[in-house]
């Protein structure tokens, strides 16, 4: 059974181009709120925001008895890395990125966490002929290779996403990211599969999970949903119920069942604690539905490859 975490950034103010929802909240309040959500075992912490005072952070973790699913390393920052971090044209900026990743790896060790994840949102392009892709991939490979070598026991995860804030991010889908990881060749470089990002780039999350796992790159899973047109960070299963069930089924098969799910869901107009209570409840329901699938029966049905039998079987489980 996977443990459940909330990404701390989603416990405060969340923004889009036009609106700000909820309010900025200090870290202790975020811990307090997460503790009100039954079923939550830990948090995914955001660096640098949550790391202003490491001793206080340790106290909070102890006080609330929360584990850390991962440290989310922000590769986009206010005031620096304006045109990308690990793909920056500036060697100095790429070096800064490596140094900071190494520091965060050390902090992770100190906190007993073996995973950092980063979503390279600002490393990409808006226009054609904006970036030299050949140079960008080379620099990215060198940067990640150097960062990963710092501590092989810490897993470094790239969370792919097709767009936003760039019209096209460099790592847009599971295939591109797995291929990049293999190009770098570091065993501790892998992928965060964000279900919402997979859906809106046109993937079947179950298929992406299998592909990444076969490449030994399925390191971490984020849960949220959307309408497959944009990254709305919605309640799991509100649009893609069966896709979640199929993915949960395969995660079981692949042995990703003693790890973490982390939630990035936008509370928007709804109370933040109520939102995450619903998120946990829905995840458990979807897991429960997945457990009703008889592996022998579904394997037999898949050998037949007859949706006229398979889909009614699945509906019979409801």
């Amino acid at each position: 059974m996977n443990k459940l975490a909330i990404i701390t950034a989603f416990l405060g103010a969340v923004k889009n181009r036009y609106m700000t929802y909820q309010e900025d909240r200090p870290l202790p309040e975020k811990f307090q709120m997460a503790s009100k959500v039954e079923g939550i075992d830990g948090l995914e912490l955001c660096y640098p925001a949550d790391f202003e005072n490491l001793e206080k952070l340790k106290e909070l973790l102890k006080k609330f008895d929360f584990d850390i699913s991962a440290i989310n390393f922000r590769s986009r920052r206010t005031g620096k890395w304006w045109r990308g971090s690990f793909t920056s044209v500036s060697e100095k900026e790429r070096k800064e990125f490596i140094d900071e990743v190494k520091q965060v790896m050390d902090v992770a060790v100190e906190l007993g966490c073996n995973r950092i994840t980063t979503c390279p949102l600002n490393d990409g392009t808006d226009s054609l002929f904006e970036m030299d892709y050949i140079r960008a991939y080379d620099d990215a490979a060198e940067t990640f290779s150097s960062a990963c070598a710092h501590n092989r026991r810490i897993r470094v995860c790239i969370e792919y996403k097709e767009s936003d804030p760039r019209a096209r991010c460099l790592f847009g889908n599971a295939g591109e990211t797995a291929s990049f990881c293999q190009m770098v060749g570091a065993d501790n470089l892998g992928v965060t599969l964000d279900v919402g990002h997979a859906l809106y780039t046109g993937e079947r999350p179950a298929q992406s999970a299998v592909l990444l796992s076969k490449a030994n790159r399925l390191f971490y899973v984020h849960l949220n949903d959307n309408d497959a047109r944009w990254d709305w960070d919605m309640l799991p299963g509100s649009y893609h119920m069966w896709e979640f069930i199929e993915m949960f089924y395969y995660l079981q098969q692949l042995g990703y069942n003693d790890d973490w799910y982390a939630f990035d869901v936008f509370p928007k107009e709804i109370d933040t604690v109520d939102t995450f209570k619903a998120v946990v409840m829905l995840t458990q329901k979807l897991e429960g539905l997945t457990d009703r699938i008889n592996p022998e029966e579904i394997e037999r049905l898949m050998k037949e490859r007859n949706p006229a039998k398979t889909i009614p079987y699945l509906y019979s489980l409801l």
Binding site: K15, N16, R17, Y18, M19, T20, Y21, R76, T78, W82, R83, L121, N122, D126, S127, L128, E162, S163, D164, P165, A167, R168, N226, D227, R229, W230, W232, M234, L235, S238, K268, E269
Partner: protein
């Protein structure tokens, strides 16, 4: 060659943000006018209400001094403080009344500033989840509120700007068909559309077709020019950087239908400055218009009137791109 009227949207002359990043500093109205004046080929400026128009006298003075025309007053009805649960279609009468009165105020101001129209993009009117709103009731309210607004001043036009999504996963007024629907429901001639080219791409349309449809019902009041990757994201990119042929088709269509309204630049500057962004946007459109001129509207029409003549059409169009035949 047809003379097109170009304007800039003041909203893009100040601070912009997306979910993750902020671009450009906040700027005063004076600073915005100063920037707008530096953009070549610009005749007008689209002003935001309430943000830019808290001091009407100042706006009037700046318009006079700059020699720019107010192309439209763009009324913001998505302020979360009032419209968290909708504006024109809200359940709350207070929210609906506030949206309507903002639009009425916008009409009065537009009239005072010599702009013929008010435009608004009703982004607060939408939903994220299934079972979140009652569509029948919401649409009825939407139509009623719009009817109330356009009835207030028949001498002023209201141009509704459709957009498929954002900030909600689904916006009620999401495509050209729905704009035509509401125009027909309201039935008054001063209601029409602001065709934002990027929104039209995001909605999966060909903007040229949307323009032709709107023009056929005399509802094409205003146009926002920009571009995007066509996958749904409203990137407000420089016109023609992605959809070159589609934009040529649109300019050809606008010439065909005799569009005399504004081409309002609606591009985000992100890492480059707003002057450069608007300047390039205008130049790109001017050059594409020049290309359409070279191709000849009548000639293009005669080619597309032939069934199955696609090869001949593109042979001709592409030949017009090069000086010497290869």
């Amino acid at each position: 060659m047809r003379k097109w009227k170009f304007s800039v949207n003041s909203g893009f002359l100040g601070r912009r943000r997306d979910r993750f990043t902020e671009y450009q500093p906040d700027r005063t109205l004076e600073e915005k006018f100063k920037l707008a004046k530096q953009v070549r080929g610009i005749d007008g400026i689209e002003l935001k209400y309430p943000a830019d128009l808290k001091d009407i006298k100042l706006a009037k003075r700046l318009l006079e001094e700059s020699g720019l025309v107010c192309s439209a007053v763009n009324v913001d009805i998505k302020d979360a403080a009032f419209f968290r649960y909708g504006a024109l279609s809200a359940q709350s009468k207070e929210a609906r009344d506030r949206a309507a009165s903002l639009l009425r105020e916008g009409m009065d101001i537009a009239s005072e500033l010599g702009a013929g129209l008010v435009t608004t993009c009703p982004l607060a009117d939408g939903y994220d989840y299934p079972f979140q709103i009652d569509y029948s009731v919401a649409w009825q309210r939407f139509v009623e509120t719009v009817m109330e607004v356009v009835s207030y001043r028949r001498d002023m036009k209201l141009a509704l700007e459709f957009q498929p999504h954002e900030p909600h996963a689904k916006i009620l007024l999401s495509n050209v068909g729905k704009v035509l629907h509401i125009c027909s429901e309201v039935g008054l001639p001063n209601l029409g559309a602001n065709l934002d080219i990027g929104h039209s791409f995001a909605a999966g349309e060909s903007p040229a077709e949307s323009a032709a449809l709107l023009a056929s019902k005399e509802r094409l009041f205003y146009i926002h020019t920009n571009d995007n990757t066509g996958e749904g994201g409203d990137w407000d990119m420089i016109s023609g950087t992605v959809h070159f042929w589609h934009l040529l088709e649109l300019l050809y269509t606008l010439d065909r239908i005799g569009y005399e309204g504004w081409l309002g630049g609606d591009v985000t500057s992100k890492h480059i400055g707003p002057v450069e962004a608007f300047d390039t946007n205008t130049r790109m459109i001017q050059r594409m218009a020049q290309l359409v001129d070279r191709m000849g509207t009548e000639k293009i029409t005669s080619l597309i009137h032939k069934d199955g003549g696609l090869a001949e059409t593109f042979d001709y169009l592409s030949r017009c791109l090069v000086e010497k035949e290869i």
